[in-house]
């Protein structure tokens, strides 16, 4: 990668030549802490439970297909799959509760975090970023240098889509788990609604959030290929970070908060072990991604020929 200074000058970002100063001033703490250990563990458990939920739920959705019946036989039948599905659901619900607690904490502790800089709420800048990207996609302008604060527009989109999805899946899943209890308070047609939404929501979650969105932006886009290591290493080198999130960097320097988020990179031995473990997981994830891709194409094809 080119040096930070030239990068910054090339793209015309109004940045003082602060990076080098910060870089040397903090000694060995050369990495920017993108995710805390808590966030990384939550991500890990959501990844595992999501995969289990898909693998045990999808064969039931497509129960009339031969591949679904073969797969259901391999995982030990409907009864077993149901048990794994509910177990995984409890892991995911636990993660969601932990995250909600985390959000409440940071909202109380840091005033203005919800709307302020580094927000997860879509802003006008996100719209400008998206427009710049689309214009690059269609060949009307060169690759834009996105003015990213903490979260990019595609990360915000994924966050809100996943939040909506997980809410719907939790509520409808609970109704389908205890339909008799649900019917004590709600009319019976709600169970019908739950079936339709759990089934459709599952396909949306898998196809849109995972295949088209998350796997692409976290693994396959040019900047991160083959994967964004920040989610397991926790940090990324400051040079890369300045390049990726210029607005957040500038803001932190301005507020004098950069020192709070700098960490030493993990030791080389630990990195090696982590690399092995995470390459195995990433390999599995990429394999599943390929399977999901084929699956989504197949679903779309079947849907189109049904007309």
């Amino acid at each position: 990668m080119a040096s930070i200074d030239s990068d910054v000058r090339d793209e015309g970002i109004a940045l003082e030549p602060a990076p080098r100063v910060a870089h040397t001033a903090v000694g060995a703490r050369t990495h920017f802490r993108r995710f805390t250990a808590f966030q990384r563990w939550v991500h890990f458990f959501i990844m595992v439970s999501f995969s289990l939920l898909v693998l045990t739920g999808m064969p039931l959705k497509y129960s009339d297909k031969a591949w679904a019946q073969t797969w259901m036989g391999l995982i030990g039948g409907v009864e077993n799959a149901g048990m794994i599905h509910r177990f995984a659901a409890m892991i995911m619900v636990t993660c969601v509760i932990c995250m909600l607690g985390f959000f409440v904490t940071i909202l109380i502790r840091t005033k203005g975090h919800f709307w302020g800089p580094g927000t997860m709420v879509p802003t006008r800048q996100d719209y400008r970023d998206l427009r710049a990207m689309v214009s690059w996609f269609i060949g009307k302008s060169p690759q834009p240098k996105l003015q990213l604060d903490r979260y990019a527009y595609y990360e915000k989109g994924e966050f809100w889509a996943a939040s909506a999805g997980v809410s719907i899946m939790c509520i409808t899943g609970a109704i389908l788990w205890y339909p008799e209890v649900a019917a004590r308070y709600l009319p019976g047609i709600v169970i019908n609604f739950a079936l339709v939404n759990h089934s459709g929501g599952a396909l949306l979650a898998m196809g849109f959030v995972v295949v088209f969105w998350h796997f692409f932006h976290a693994h396959l886009r040019p900047e991160t290929f083959p994967m964004d290591k920040a989610m397991y290493a926790g940090g990324l080198p400051l040079e890369e970070y300045v390049h990726e999130r210029p607005v957040e960097y500038e803001r932190l320097v301005r507020e004098g908060k950069l020192d709070d988020v700098l960490v030493a990179p993990v030791s080389e031995t630990r990195m090696k072990i982590q690399n092995v473990v995470w390459w195995i997981i990433t390999g599995a994830a990429l394999f599943l991604w390929a399977v999901f891709c084929i699956f989504v194409v197949w679903v779309t094809y079947n849907w189109l020929i049904s007309f």
Binding site: Q69, M133, F216
Partner: protein, 287 residues
């Protein structure tokens, strides 16, 4: 009491026991008359031809494998096909038997089931209204290849058997958790007859029906302990692909179809174009 009296009493007791036990033994009791072999002299030939019964062509060749595997493998042909003689059959014999068969062929042994069937919707159509479409015993159970109705094999076949006439209902059933589980081999879930009944089946509008508004909660309650009327108002037979079945369910289904179509297209385009530009501009070749 003299010893002679004691022997007589013992003999009498044995006789009474035998008489009392006879009905229980009768289920598998067959008379080894050899008639079956005589029937098969002709009816095992593959080129015997077919006859038409109620517009359905039926082969005169007996599928011996199915018959040997069936519940009735040890029965004599004439136990069901009463009145036939061991020679080329006259039209009177044949016609007469088909008219009598639905009355007596099964009910001689299975009278309890037949009584229930007689009072049912299907039974009424066949017995009283002379319907040729409504099912008699053999239409659901088969004839020569009758399977033990307590087996998983039979249970698994029920949605398809009912679906021969009630195709739409069978389709919508297979779209529910019950149906999906059964199709995937979990036979503990409800199939058609668990809710609707089998021999005694009646339409929903009949108060005695298992799925009438008076009885449906109790029917659900067979499996779902705390089922109430709201639970029972869950619509099992909803066709999600049409607004005529349930407008709200259809609207939700359409909502998902549109969401999926739009989001998959936009998301797919975003990924593909990003990937394409990345490849074209050499962004994947980094040190």
């Amino acid at each position: 009491m003299s010893s002679r009296h004691a022997i007589l009493a013992a003999l009498a007791a044995v006789c009474i026991l035998l008489v009392a036990a006879a009905p229980a033994a009768a289920v598998t009791f067959t008379i080894p008359t050899g008639k079956t072999d005589r029937c098969l002299e002709c009816h095992s030939k593959p080129d015997l031809g077919a006859i038409e019964v109620n517009g359905v062509k039926k082969t005169l060749t007996v599928d011996q494998d199915a018959w040997h595997a069936s519940m009735h493998a040890r029965m004599d042909c004439t136990s069901c096909h009463t009145g036939f003689e061991a020679r080329e059959h006259t039209p009177e014999e044949t016609k007469g038997w088909y008219q009598q068969a639905k009355l007596t062929a099964c009910s001689d042994c299975h009278s309890a089931e037949f009584k229930m069937y007689d009072k049912s919707f299907h039974g009424n159509l066949v017995m009283n209204e002379g319907s040729e479409e409504a099912p008699a015993c053999g239409d659901c159970h088969g004839s020569h290849g009758i399977v033990d109705p307590t087996t998983a094999e039979f249970r698994e076949s029920i949605p398809a058997v009912c679906g021969r006439c009630h195709g739409e209902k069978s389709e919508t059933y297979l779209d529910t958790y019950h149906g999906k589980s059964v199709r995937m081999g979990d036979m503990s879930r409800a199939v058609c007859v668990d809710c609707h009944g089998s021999h005694e089946i009646l339409p929903k509008s009949d108060p005695d029906s298992a799925v009438s508004s008076q009885n449906v909660v109790a029917t659900c309650g067979k499996c779902h302990d705390s089922a109430n009327s709201k639970f029972a108002s869950f619509m099992v037979h909803v066709d999600r692909s049409t607004p005529h079945s349930s407008l709200w369910v259809w609207l939700m289904e359409m909502n998902h179809a549109v969401l999926i179509a739009v989001l998959f297209t936009l998301g797919g385009l975003h990924c593909f174009l990003y990937f394409y530009r990345g490849l074209k501009e050499g962004l994947y070749r980094r040190g």
